[in-house]
Symmetry: C2
Subunit: 350 residues, 2 copies
């Protein structure tokens, strides 16, 4: 019936001639209606409507220089905090007539660089990203020197505009809470620190606070990825006299995997050991036990980041926003009982 090559959509010239006006007038009817007489404007819009016409952003972008498109570069959407972040950012963008181009990097700096390069080719007006490590990120330097508007989400960085929680303060709050439950030996679990400045800040916050509270110093245990527990490492850290009574995980997905690993090992949470996460993902409250965590509101971080980005694009400002965090008391962390580690005594060091 209809040919495979469909006819191209009407251009501004056809509308102009159909309406008996110049192309400039058609353009103005859409972009600067105040410059036209009400009659002309309405006439043009009617004709456009009839032809089902709306101006092509491509020509418009090329000529005027603004694409009304933003970029969002996140580690992964499998982590609900980042999915929420997208929703917050995209909603804010949409409110200002911007579209969002998005990609994921899986915490891989090489993919981060490729992502920025690819997106930048589309002449985005600005970009929101979460990088592995804001301090030594080549891609951030490239981006800054290219002059593209740019805001970090989740990363804290003194030299760039960013929207994030205060990771150190949040970790502080968690350690204070765990201490208030009677825990004196706390271990911190995370993925590779060089791939997450957030994990680093959280560890630092935890260590500083433990020292200030005169707890045992916080040990650090590195999993091979950010969100999965290594069974061997978890087993190892349960051994010995200086075994921790609470495990503070650098994010909730890791905490969930740690808990299920512990359960497989026959270690009860929180009876034998307490576990806390970070991020406050909603599924934490459906788990058994419910997850103790720090809520870092993804939607709000995304919204704030996009807001900052738009301000930067429109007014050149380069402010940052610190989004408030909140302690979530769940059942996975409970009061420390001196004899709770009885279970452990039976484990023979191998």
């Amino acid at each position: 019936m209809d040919s495979k090559r469909r006819k191209p959509p009407a251009s501004i010239l056809e509308i102009a001639s159909a309406a008996g006006v110049s192309p400039a007038t058609v353009s103005r009817a859409f972009n600067r209606p105040e410059l036209l007489s009400a009659a002309t404007r309405q006439h043009v819009l009617d004709i456009a409507e009839q032809h089902n016409f709306s101006p092509d952003r491509l020509g418009s972008s090329l000529r005027s220089g603004n694409t009304r498109t933003l970029g969002l570069v996140l580690p992964t959407l499998s982590n609900p905090v980042f999915a929420d972040c997208f929703e917050g950012a995209e909603k804010r963008a949409r409110q200002s007539g911007y579209s969002m181009m998005m990609t994921v990097t899986h915490y891989d700096p090489a993919l981060e660089a490729a992502a920025v390069q690819r997106l930048a080719g589309h002449r985005l007006e600005g970009i929101i990203l979460t990088v592995s490590d804001a301090r030594n990120s080549v891609v951030l330097n490239t981006l800054k020197s290219s002059g593209m508007a740019c805001v970090l989400a989740y990363n804290e960085c003194p030299t760039m505009s960013c929207a994030a929680v205060d990771n150190r303060a949040a970790a502080h709050d968690m350690v204070v809470y765990l201490a208030s439950l009677g825990h004196k030996r706390i271990a911190f679990l995370s993925g590779p620190l060089d791939l997450s400045d957030r994990a680093r800040s959280r560890l630092k916050g935890a260590r500083d606070t433990a020292k200030r509270l005169k707890l045992h110093s916080v040990t650090h245990h590195v999993m091979s990825t950010h969100t999965t527990a290594n069974s061997a490492i978890v087993t190892a850290l349960l051994r010995g006299a200086d075994r921790p009574s609470a495990l503070f995980c650098s994010n909730d997905l890791l905490a969930m995997d740690v808990i299920s690993t512990l359960q497989e090992l026959g270690v009860r949470v929180p009876d034998d050991i307490s576990v806390a996460g970070f991020d406050g993902i909603r599924y934490g409250t459906c788990m058994s036990p419910t997850l103790t965590s720090i809520e870092a509101p993804g939607f709000e971080i995304g919204r704030a980041a996009c807001h900052l980005l738009l301000e930067q694009i429109e007014h050149g400002s380069a402010a940052s926003i610190q989004v408030p965090h909140r302690l979530v008391r769940g059942a996975s962390a409970a009061a420390f009982l001196a004899n709770a580690d009885h279970h452990n005594e039976k484990i023979t060091p191998c």
Copy 2:
């Protein structure tokens, strides 16, 4: 130091003159390297490298007509199945050098229309979407008549290219499973059916199968949203002699909320009543009780949808893919015990 208005990035003409060749040659060095001598090509690329140049897609798109950008329109990323779908689709797109523009619609047909309109303005080469109701969707008709390449994800639709699980067969499998556990009265819970053709198909599959298996006919209970339980409705359906012994929820998020609502009401799952979901989200296995569900693999659906879309763009084909589903046996659905509804007897109808 540097002025607020940074100098525009190098254009192809500057590179051309710097390299002592024509602009067309620079273009070819990037797009059709096989047309150039190795020497010229390398020389041009070196110069480009020095100037940190990469061709602007905007000019390229306008001239050549392809933007190498796809659109993805999903209900929400808060539901992990859709987040996975994005990951699958975007990864596939990236492999073919496409970027992904994305937006969410929160199951609102008006937002669906606005989303498509907005994205179409960017001259996408194709679009993947999940709509509320593929059968009577104005936006789908608009899209088809516009000639834009288009694939549905999750929706099943005989007249369009789509990537989805067989919802009726999947619901069939679930009912067969529940029946095998001894359940004879099954209730189906969902959001408004006119906003979800998937929920409709699943209900139909459940009803047909219940009839074939000579179970009691499946009752249907409508929640005000797709993913939250109405406490009053849940309470009501627990009353009476024909109270169901199993609740089949149209998605996992709803099932999770139903379970927590039941627990608040003092009804034990699965001891007093069994609950099943649909989607097979990964958090289902961390819950207590673990969730019985049908896995509808989001990543695979996204990947397949994007694959179909690219085929359609490149070869005009309009095939569909049925992605296999899988029953996930969790602890939320257990064998029916005749006396299990003792708990119920005590509830006084009000």
